[in-house]
Structure formats: structure tokens, C-alpha cells
């Protein structure tokens, strides 16, 4: 039986999510015997146009070149998995979508005309059909491993869309919001990180993006009652996952709210 062919592509991103593959350590050696990794610049092999069974995509679409390249990858790949906040929601760089990109370019760069960029940073799924999304900033090795093993076993990968709170409670971490009044984003945030921040007594800052069925309106009201200003709450929504629809809507609502 032929081994499944895998490619790991990069778009606009910090390269951190790809590290989740390298962090597999010895398991990566085992897996490398079961799959053919044909394109993975961070690890070695380079073959961007290879036809593959599974393409992992890191990064957002933020340049005209990327807009085109992603189409080729879709054509060449049977199954497309996006990894990380950039690929699934546009990343922190999607904050440009809320401002004036051209003005910023002029303010920052001496020769903005030499830079070819789009006015927006968007998710891969805004451009092509994506088969599975892995949330996180960055994603972790467990998530990558689970998806790879699903592929190997010929089943569709799945992931819980529950809130961080459930994981916190399973792990026996004490709620930082209830005991300390910390503005923890856990009740609206997608699980998968293993409740990392609450494990060290800190508030979740929503780097995994919105969970399913989020109630941002009620949550906003509660954060307000804990003493946070509208601007402070808006910043929590319009952060790493600012372009994820549920957070974008909640954040913009606060930004445009008229002062009483």
C-alpha cells in the first residue's frame, strides 16, 4: 500500500504552528515511516507543487501571490487541513481589516509602492474549500497528531468545539474568574489548549478563538460588572482571533457603542 503523501504549506504567519510537527519528537520518526512528507520547508523537503493526499496550511491570505498559490494547492490536494489562528481566522494581522492598510503602509515603510499586499488578511476558508480546521495560536502537537492519525486510519478528523471551562474543570483547576474576578475568556473560547493559562492561575486570552454557541453579549455584560471598560472588553475580543466572526461582531459592537 502506498503511503499517504503530506505537504505542509506556509502563508502569512509566524511559522509557530508548523513547529507542532517538529515537537512530535521521536513520534515524528515513527510517523515519517507511515507517511511521505513531500513538502515541509521548515523540516527540509521542498516541493510546493506536489500532488498530495493531505495538505496542512499555516498562515492567512494577505498578498496577491498567496491568493493565487492557495488555489493551486487546493487543486493538488485531496484533503486540506488549516492550522492555527492565521489560517482559520486571518490571525492577529487581520487587525489591518479594521484599519486603513494603505495609510499604515505609508506611515511605516519608506517605499510602500514596492510592497505588494492586500488590504485584508483573511482565513484560508474565505478562498478555498477547507476540509478540517485546527484552532489555536499556536496549535499543539496533540492536535496535529490526532489529525494525522485520523488520516492514517482513513477517518475524518474531529475536534471538540466546547469551551475551555470544561477542560479546566476536568483538570481540577480553580476558576480564576470566580475566585479572583479575572476577566477570563474561557467561557467563550474554543477548547484544545488544555486550559494552559488557568493552569498557572491566569485568565484565558482566547487564542483558540470562539467556541460553538458563544454568548458574547451576556459575557460582555459580566466583564463590565467586573469593572472592565468597553475598550478593555473590545480589546479582548479583537485580539489574536479578531477576525473570527463571533469575536469580530462582539468587539465591533463595543467599539461603535455610543457613550451614555
Amino acid at each position: 500500500m502506498e503511503k499517504p503523501r503530506i505537504a505542509i504549506h506556509k502563508f502569512t504567519s509566524c511559522d509557530g504552528c508548523q513547529l507542532a510537527f517538529l515537537h512530535l519528537g521521536e513520534d515524528l520518526l515513527d510517523l515519517a515511516e507511515k507517511v511521505d512528507i513531500v513538502h515541509f520547508v521548515e523540516m527540509g523537503p521542498i516541493n510546493p507543487l506536489a500532488k498530495v493526499d493531505v495538505a496542512y496550511i499555516e498562515g492567512s491570505i494577505s498578498t496577491p501571490e498567496e491568493k493565487e498559490r492557495i488555489q493551486h494547492i487546493r487543486t493538488n490536494s485531496r484533503y486540506v487541513i488549516t492550522i492555527g489562528a492565521c489560517a482559520t481566522a486571518g490571525g492577529i494581522q487581520a487587525l489591518r481589516n479594521l484599519g486603513n492598510t494603505q495609510e499604515w503602509m505609508k506611515a511605516i515603510y519608506a517605499t510602500p509602492d514596492t510592497i505588494s499586499t492586500l488590504n485584508t488578511s483573511t482565513a484560508i476558508s474565505d478562498h478555498i474549500k477547507v476540509d478540517f480546521e485546527i484552532y489555536g495560536c499556536p496549535v499543539n502537537t496533540q492536535q496535529i497528531l490526532a489529525s494525522l492519525l485520523s488520516v492514517l486510519n482513513k477517518v475524518n478528523p474531529t475536534a471538540s468545539k466546547d469551551k475551555v471551562c470544561l477542560e479546566c474543570k476536568r483538570l481540577g483547576y480553580t476558576c480564576v474568574m470566580v475566585t479572583k474576578g479575572e476577566p477570563c475568556m474561557g467561557p467563550v473560547t474554543h477548547t484544545g489548549c488544555g486550559a494552559l493559562c488557568p493552569s498557572v492561575g491566569r485568565a484565558c486570552y482566547a487564542c483558540y478563538g470562539p467556541a460553538e454557541n458563544t454568548n458574547t453579549a451576556s459575557f460582555t455584560q459580566w466583564l463590565s460588572s467586573l469593572g472592565l471598560s468597553d475598550a478593555e472588553i473590545a480589546r479582548r475580543f479583537l485580539f489574536i482571533q479578531n477576525n473570527a466572526p463571533a469575536f469580530k461582531e462582539a468587539g465591533l459592537k463595543l467599539r461603535t457603542k455610543k457613550k451614555p
Binding site: N153, D162, L166, K169, G172, T174, M177, V178, V188, S218
Partner: protein, 371 residues
């Protein structure tokens, strides 16, 4: 006949339990809450502390008394020990011939002695016993943990603002389910014996009989805790709630509570009787086997009502309705008891402070204020 255990004898009790092979767990302060962890010395107990609880609020503060158990409860007690948050059920491994072999993974660990469980915790355990140990299918994992648990209960001398066990008739004094039950008075505890194991322990410690005065003091302490409670479950948590709920499935209150509810599952996770779980399959990295585990789930998740390609309860309103109608209503049909023991945890640990007694009051029309 009750005995007296002096403060100085707590360490003797711990030593006696250790000698019998038990790992002792007791209350102590971690991250601003009272939780149960390994207890090696009486000094680790939360002396002079109590918990201020309000909806969505928990803070530890100094109490006037320098007692070890002058607090109500923390986020968890017995449930995570018996119905584990995550536990593997079986393992499957490919052998040399390429055949898959299944192996049950029963728990294996030192027996546990839990010191400081409350009356509500014991009542909840007895509800879980009904759920998981009676009927045609009993739970082998729960049963194993249950057989390897010894309980030293402590009767409450303090109630938080979220306690309502008086109305649910599950406290503040423990009546069954313990091996020993302590009531803290000056300088020590009145000890009641609940099992042969408990009796053997007390005899080994050479405790003296409790004086009449000590018994009177103990009775006053639990009475004080009862008097402190300001909350109650409407209809005293009786079976009547079942019909009230079922006759009000279209009550406007459901929509209203759904506007506040975050559907995060904190309430069900801290509820000492909630037993919902899902199962997961984790392949080994070598892809030559996998571990099948179960972990706590919640009726507030999407997965909980995902059946054959459909999420049946796709809105928070439906999910909240499921939680309350089951907990206080149809639990009676299933287990001949309410699923609520009045501990108030779901109120305290709800990030937005939803109070189920208040919701029940709105739907039943009967007050949740205890006079």
C-alpha cells in the same frame, strides 16, 4: 455512642489511616479556594478561614473562629474521586500476528481516605450510587473507586449564601454514607461512627466518649449552620417540581435565562450528581493500538445531543431546559430522587452567577428565600 477527638489527635488519625494503607486527602487552600489534596499534617488544614460565596463569586476570608472546618465548600469534593473527570476504560493493541487485543483497564491505586466531606457531598454520592451502581448495568470503575474510599465527614457549622441543603433535606448534618462524622467544637470534634471501619479507627485512637456538654455544643453548631441559610429550593426540592417543570416547558423564563447563560458547562462540572460523559478514542503515535477513555461531558455542549448527524439541542434555551428539567424533574422518574442536593456549587461557579433556585422560583411562583 459518640466520642471526642481532640485537635492534637488529628495527626494520630492521619497516621492510623496511613498505617492502614490509605492515602489521606483533606481540605486545604490552593489558588484561592478550598480543595482536597494530600493531607500529611493537621497544619495544612484551612485554619481560621471561611468562604464567602455569592452567585458567580467565591473568596476566602479570615473567620472570627480559628477552626479548621468553619467553611462551607469548595469547587469539588467526592465526585472527582469516584466518577473521574477522565478515565480510560479499555486499551486495544495489535499483537505480532496483526490481531487486535482488547484489554479492560480497571483502576489501580492506593485506597483513599477523604477527610472533610460535607453532608451535601454524601447525599450526592448516594445519588450517584443509585445512578452508577444499581440497575442492570453497573459501572465497574465507579464501583472500584467506591470500594476503595473511606470517608471522614465533617458536619457544617457554617453555611455560605449559596447553601440551601436545609430545604433539600440533605444537610447540614450528615446522616449516612460516612465511616466517621465529625462536628467541630472547641478544641476538637465530636465523632460519630458510621461503619465498622470507622469504629475500628476510633478504638485504635483510644478516644474518650463525648461528654453531654460536648454533644449539646455540637448540636448547636449544626443548628447554627442551618439557621444561617437564606436560600431555599421552591417546594423543598420535592417531586412536585417535576410536574411544575413539565407543565411549563414553554414558560418565557427559559428564553430569559438563555440570554444570560454562557452554555459553558461549569454548573454541570461542579454539580456533585451530574454524570454525563462522552467517550474518546486516542490512537498511539505508532498507530498500533488505542486507548478508549471517558471524560466528563455536559448537557451544555453540542456533542451531548449530537445524534445521527443532527445536534438536537442546538440553542442555549434547549440546553438550559434540559439541565433543569432533568436535574429537578425527570431525575425523579429515572432514579426516584431529585438530582439536587443543595450544595449551591452551580450557583457559585457559574461565571455569570445564574441561580437555579431563582430560576425555579420564577417558574414555580414560589419564593426561593428561606425565612
Amino acid at each position: 455512642m459518640p466520642y471526642f477527638l481532640a485537635y492534637e489527635q488529628i495527626n494520630e488519625l492521619l497516621a492510623a489511616l496511613s498505617a492502614l494503607g490509605y492515602r489521606c486527602l483533606g481540605p486545604q487552600v490552593r489558588e484561592g479556594a478550598i480543595i482536597f489534596d494530600d493531607l500529611k499534617d493537621a497544619d495544612q488544614l484551612p485554619w481560621g478561614l471561611r468562604d464567602a460565596q455569592k452567585p458567580g463569586y467565591y473568596r476566602l476570608e479570615k473567620s472570627e473562629e480559628t477552626e479548621a472546618f468553619a467553611w462551607a465548600n469548595g469547587p469539588q469534593a467526592i465526585k472527582p474521586l469516584l466518577f473521574k473527570p477522565k478515565e480510560s476504560l479499555w486499551r486495544v493493541q495489535k499483537n505480532a500476528e496483526g490481531k487486535y487485543l482488547f484489554q479492560e483497564t480497571l483502576p489501580e491505586h492506593q485506597p483513599i481516605a477523604l477527610i472533610g466531606a460535607r453532608a451535601c457531598d454524601l447525599a450526592a454520592m448516594q445519588v450517584q450510587d443509585k445512578t452508577l451502581l444499581t440497575g442492570q448495568y453497573t459501572d465497574a470503575h465507579y464501583a472500584w473507586h467506591r470500594q476503595h474510599l473511606l470517608i471522614v465527614a465533617v458536619n457544617c457549622s457554617y453555611s455560605s449564601q449559596n447553601c440551601f441543603c436545609v430545604s433539600t433535606q440533605t444537610g447540614p448534618k450528615a446522616t449516612s454514607g460516612y465511616d466517621l462524622a465529625l462536628t467541630e467544637i472547641e478544641d476538637g470534634f465530636v465523632v460519630e461512627i458510621g461503619s465498622e471501619k470507622g469504629e475500628a479507627l476510633i478504638h485504635a485512637l483510644a478516644c474518650e466518649s463525648a461528654t453531654k456538654k460536648a454533644l449539646e455544643k455540637a448540636a448547636l453548631r449544626t443548628q447554627h449552620a442551618a439557621n444561617m441559610q437564606s436560600k431555599r429550593m421552591p417546594k423543598n426540592n420535592s417531586r412536585a417540581l417535576r410536574d411544575i417543570l413539565m407543565n411549563n416547558l414553554n414558560h418565557p423564563r427559559w428564553e430569559e435565562v438563555a440570554e444570560r447563560c454562557l452554555s459553558c458547562g461549569n454548573c454541570t462540572s461542579v454539580c456533585p450528581t451530574c454524570f454525563c460523559h462522552h467517550q474518546t478514542e486516542t490512537p498511539t503515535a505508532q498507530n498500533d493500538g488505542s486507548v478508549h477513555a471517558r471524560e466528563w461531558d455536559s448537557c451544555f455542549t453540542q456533542g451531548h445531543s449530537y445524534i445521527h448527524g443532527q445536534v438536537i439541542r442546538d440553542t442555549t434555551e434547549k440546553r438550559y431546559k434540559q439541565w433543569l428539567t432533568h436535574k429537578l424533574g425527570t431525575w425523579w422518574d429515572q432514579f426516584d430522587t431529585s438530582g439536587c442536593v443543595g450544595c449551591g456549587r452551580c450557583i457559585t461557579w457559574c461565571p455569570v452567577g445564574i441561580d437555579l433556585t431563582e430560576e425555579m422560583a420564577a417558574i414555580s411562583g414560589e419564593s426561593n428565600e428561606k425565612k
